[in-house]
């Protein structure tokens, strides 16, 4: 593939993914409001469009049209930089996530992944360290939160951002360590290879168990650590202390309004998506799912994407469900939970897993 077509394909893919992602984010907010409303015995949005389906659009228009307020005492450059940084970093991590195998459009085969490159022979070369890039980008995302709080020059913001940064740094450790078990089993950092190593079924003692070869089964502990740490990473309930509207007004984005606030908002939801994608890829076999015969070729090639989207949707649903169900942690409980429970458990999980891997050779 020459450079020109590479760039063209890449641009198309980026545009498409960003569009889908942002739309997804918008409708996730709708879904959340609806679901939480139902959980709380309310209706949620109903006025704009059927079932309130146009509500996200209205929200977006409102955000764009609102006055762009910048308080006097803020550190202006950083105040502007922070939300951009947050959104950019959350979007970058989408770049390495594979959604499926390949897709052939107009005789042109390409990988269903922004960073994936399809070679002439049909082989797909993924970026080797996809998982590390996601971790790295997530860790850069901390700056958005930290700078937002600090540059606002407001005590609520500062407290919120300090809480948020500390929380994200703390849980990043547990998050990273919970993934090591997967790495040990798959032997790769490439997301595509990790998914591929989950194809087929578990074979125990020569017996085909007909259980999908997903890493959730040997790594159930790792999965729960990942899930909890991911909730904390995305500052979602029950770990939403940085925002904690009842204590800190709105945490690090207290001083933000209009589009800058929307950026934080979107960043949070994109992060949710990233985390959900990652959970599906690492623990639930990614796009692998039951094969449905008798479908037209295009649909057939989109079937893996469907399975993947289903899994991601399940996690999004889980997020919302938990938000509607659980109360918030106290801050010291949060830190103690991260450092004294999740981290040791993750280390123990690594040790046990590596022993088993070593034992099995």
């Amino acid at each position: 593939m020459d450079t020109k077509s590479f760039i063209i394909v890449a641009v198309i893919k980026i545009a498409l993914v960003v569009f889908i992602m942002l739309t997804g984010v918008a409708y996730t907010t709708w879904l959340e409001r609806k679901l939480v409303g139902r959980i709380q015995n309310r209706w949620g949005p109903t006025r704009v469009g059927p079932f309130g389906l146009l509500q996200p659009l209205a929200d977006g228009i409102k955000f764009i049209l609102k006055e762009d307020m910048i308080p006097d005492s803020v550190h202006k450059g950083l105040f502007l930089l922070a939300p951009m940084l947050a959104l950019t970093m959350s979007l970058i991590s989408i770049a390495v996530i594979p959604f499926g195998e390949t897709i052939t459009v107009a005789g042109h085969t390409t990988a269903l992944q922004i960073s994936g490159v399809t070679h002439a022979g049909g082989a797909i070369s993924d970026i080797n360290i996809g998982l590390l890039i996601i971790l790295g980008v997530t860790s850069i995302g901390v700056y958005g939160v930290a700078l937002a709080g600090w540059s606002s020059n407001s005590k609520y913001s500062l407290l919120g951002s300090l809480r948020a940064s500390a929380q994200m740094i703390s849980y990043e450790l547990a998050l990273g360590l919970s993934l090591v078990g997967i790495l040990l089993l798959s032997g790769s950092l490439s997301l595509r290879e990790i998914v591929n190593s989950q194809s087929g079924t578990w074979i125990l003692g020569g017996q085909n168990t007909h259980i999908p070869h997903w890493f959730i089964f040997p790594q159930i502990i790792g999965f729960f650590i990942y899930l909890l740490a991911a909730f904390a990473e995305t500052n979602r309930i029950p770990f939403d202390l940085p925002e904690a509207e009842t204590e800190l007004v709105a945490g690090y984005h207290t001083e933000y309004s209009s589009m800058k606030f929307a950026m934080f908002f979107m960043a949070e939801y994109v992060n949710m998506f990233t985390v959900a994608c990652l959970a599906s890829l690492l623990f639930f076999g990614g796009w692998h799912g039951p094969h449905i015969p008798g479908l037209p070729p295009l649909l057939q090639s989109l079937l893996p994407v469907f399975w993947f989207a289903l899994k991601v949707f399940f996690f999004i649903f889980l997020y919302i469900w938990i938000r509607g169900t659980l109360p918030r942690f106290r801050y010291d409980q949060l830190m103690a939970f991260g450092w004294k429970f999740l981290l040791p458990l993750a280390i123990a999980n690594i040790i046990v897993t590596s022993l088993i891997v070593a034992w099995r050779g």
């Binding site: 360290i129 860790s139 850069i140 600090w150």
Partner: protein
Amino acid sequence: MVHQVLFIVFGLICVAGAVNLLVQRHPINSALSLVVVMASLALIYLLLGAEFVAAIQVIVYAGAIMVLFVFVIMLLNAGAEERTRGSRIALFIGVPGVVVLAGAVAWLLVHSSGQLGGVTIGSSDFGETHSIARLLFKDFLLPFEVTSVLILIAIMGAVVLGKREG
């Protein structure tokens, strides 16, 4: 060609970030400049095919060490450096100093590039994680384990230092 362009772009970003680090008087701006330098260095590492190093550059340096710096700056609420007579003198000495030093070294390197064999280097995927892991856990096992002790000591030292007396 693409390689050279990318190198020049990121190299310029690097230098700009580093210069900004010096020029800025508020430490948080310096810190962010440094993050920029590190991030672009990570990309240069990718150009050099060192993807693992690039990743840990981002994770460890940008994501951990620099966050710590920013954190401390926020914690201490450090203000901008005040301008003094000395600082102006320093500026007058410093800017030519940087130019002279960097120029001298650059001149030396260009001059001696013949001795380097004129080898041009580009991306290759030799720096993949597998081989580094093999090297790290076989040939450099002892240093690796010793660094873990070092880290432990550093953690304890930091805890002791950070603890308030009494």
